[in-house]
């Protein structure tokens, strides 16, 4: 890579500095276009209502109280806690179940393994949106016959997401690359599959597991259509649904809406900024999923 960029800026290209300036300008305009929507949202979340509805570039003074009002009056505290609980259960389930399944596909021999893996892969593109209807019927039915209600309760919001073909595929590819020698050595020491998994495979697999955590966190936190269907009270409503309700109820208080939007996206943005490298690499990995 380095040699390639070096050859591009070779002496014979030097005279055309103008072109570089034009490129900088075009790229800057593009960069600003990408950031402006975010800037306006954050700026408005610190404004008074009057400022927010009268197009201002900067708030007169930073009104932190918007966040307090949204957090308390608009029930964002409740939605936020709900989302934290739902996301924690979902991510834990995905990591646990996907690790086990991926290990079975990568390291164990059993009948019908190839068939089962192909079957799983062939469904990797099916979006949850086209399965909403039957799944909704299923969770209402499970609630009727089971000991606890599924609708407007944690099971409907978490369990259906715990079978993640993408995560299984990603982890399987990584587990399969762990040298066989390590497994044979562990076997001689008397370790079974379970101990090999916990003491050798997992410590080596921090990076792909982190990728699975990041992507399932973002997916779970951002989910809208399904939680919209299976919640009907504030008890379990996640923040994405809370935000849409808030928009419908509070059409006038734009500054509070923006504060709500900022609260909603903050955890995802924090994850993104702290795991940037992992995030970008994870996207590249997801590119291989098909």
């Amino acid at each position: 890579m380095a040699s390639m960029t070096a050859s591009q800026s070779s002496p014979r290209r030097k005279p055309i500095k103008w072109w570089n300036i034009i490129v900088y300008i075009i790229l800057s305009v593009g960069g600003i276009a990408m950031v402006l929507p975010m800037y306006w949202t954050i700026a408005a979340s610190f404004m008074t209502r009057a400022e927010a509805i009268a197009f201002r570039w900067f708030p007169g003074q930073l009104r932190y109280e918007n966040f307090i009002v949204a957090w308390e009056q608009a029930q964002f505290s409740e939605y936020f806690v709900n989302s934290v609980i739902i996301t924690t259960i979902t991510v834990t389930g995905i990591v646990l179940f996907s690790t086990l399944a991926a290990y079975a596909f990568a390291r164990m021999e059993f009948k019908g393994k190839d068939f089962l893996f192909s079957l799983l892969l062939s469904t990797i593109f099916i979006p949850e949106m086209v399965l909403l209807l039957p799944n909704f019927l299923t969770v209402t039915w499970l609630g009727r016959i089971g000991p606890i209600s599924w609708v407007d309760n944690w099971p409907a919001l978490t369990i259906p997401f715990m079978g993640s073909v993408f995560s299984i595929f990603l982890l399987r590819q990584f587990f399969a690359q762990i040298p066989r020698d390590l497994f044979d050595a562990a076997k001689i020491d008397g370790a079974g599959h379970f101990r090999f998994l916990t003491s050798v495979v997992l410590p080596l697999s921090r990076a792909p597991i982190m990728t699975v955590i990041i992507f399932s966190f973002i997916g779970s936190w951002n989910a809208l259509a399904w939680p919209l269907l299976v919640t009907n009270s504030a008890d379990w409503r996640p923040i994405a649904v809370g935000l849409t309700n808030f928009l419908d109820e509070e059409q006038q208080r734009i500054h509070l809406q923006m504060a709500g939007a900022v609260i909603t996206m903050l955890p995802v943005l924090l994850i993104y900024f702290f795991t940037q490298k992992q995030f970008t690499e994870g996207i590249a990995l997801s590119g291989l999923k098909g």
């Binding site: 179940f97 059993f110 062939s122 979006p127 909403l132 209807l133 799944n135 098909g290």
Partner: protein, 295 residues
């Protein structure tokens, strides 16, 4: 010895059970159930149903409203794919050089991809709102009259398309940059020596060599436009004005859960399944099994 062998045979299935149970209940069964439901007229959310064969599909085919949603979906998809990928490739080509701050630039570009379509919707609704939106204000300054972004069908579609391109841009650029950095520069140099113009070099060499990448992005962007627009449309336009942004997935949701036409909605799911199957086959054919089993 026997227990060890038994355990060995039993253990993989123990590891697979949680995943398989969840996938059977929430992925495989509902796929089958969708096909079954599409042949029924269903009332009261499944409590009463009547077999009607392919009647749901016939009514969809005769419904000009449904054809309209197909048309809207195709328009949005086409513009998001062609426009979005075109802009992304242009930015990637420009950014593919030794520029200062290149890594910061990539960070700036890709973050909208972490946002939910719903939050993207809130942000764009705010920017384009009549009366106070920033873009609304700026376009009024430029054109002299206020554009009714949410009330005019064409402008509303434009708004949804702009928001979609904005959200996917960084993702596309990251892939194109990776593709450009892996290009074989010798081919480009050979083309220059052979007297190819810049224009020819771009189309016949760069663009041709990038086509696997373009193909992958084509599929992800089509998937986005068909299935992930629900949140944004629900928040920004609710399918309006005059059904101008009523895409297939939004229409399905409303038929299923607002009007309780379960069978009809299931038939619409089956139609969307055809799209998924098509994309899956194309993707598997083009990348081959190499990626899947090669590790």
């Amino acid at each position: 010895m026997y227990t060890a062998k038994f355990k060995g045979r039993f253990l993989p299935w123990l590891f697979l059970t949680p995943t398989l149970v969840i996938l059977v209940v929430f992925l495989y069964y509902p796929v089958v159930q969708t096909f079954v439901l599409s042949t029924y007229r269903v009332a009261f959310l499944g409590l009463r149903k009547k077999f009607i064969g392919l009647d749901n599909f016939v009514s969809l085919a005769q419904d000009t409203g449904y054809w309209h949603t197909v048309w809207v979906t195709l328009i949005i998809t086409a513009v998001v794919v062609v426009g979005g990928l075109g802009i992304s490739l242009a930015i990637a080509m420009l950014a593919n050089r030794d520029l200062r701050g290149g890594s910061i630039y990539r960070v700036l570009l890709i973050w909208p991809f972490a946002l939910s379509p719903a939050v993207t919707g809130v942000i764009f609704l705010f920017m384009f709102s009549p009366g106070f939106g920033a873009i609304n204000y700026l376009t009024e300054q430029i054109t002299g009259s206020e554009l009714n972004w949410l009330g005019n069908p064409r402008l509303a579609i434009t708004l949804i398309i702009l928001a979609s391109i904005w959200r996917n841009l960084g993702y596309n650029v990251v892939f194109y940059l990776a593709g450009l950095q892996n290009l074989n520069t010798e081919v480009l140099e050979a083309a220059s020596i052979d007297g190819a113009t810049n224009w020819q070099r771009f189309w016949k060499v760069t663009f041709a060599l990038l086509s696997p990448m373009s193909f992958f992005l084509l599929i992800t962007n089509i998937t986005y436009s068909f299935f992930d627009l629900f949140g944004m449309i629900d928040i920004v336009t609710k399918g309006g004005p005059l059904d101008a942004t009523n895409v297939m997935i939004y229409n399905l949701y409303r038929d299923g859960f607002e009007y309780y036409k379960t069978g009809l909605a299931a038939a619409q799911s089956v139609i969307l399944f055809a799209v998924v199957v098509g994309l899956t086959i194309i993707q598997f054919r083009t990348t081959g099994t190499r990626v899947h089993y090669g590790g």
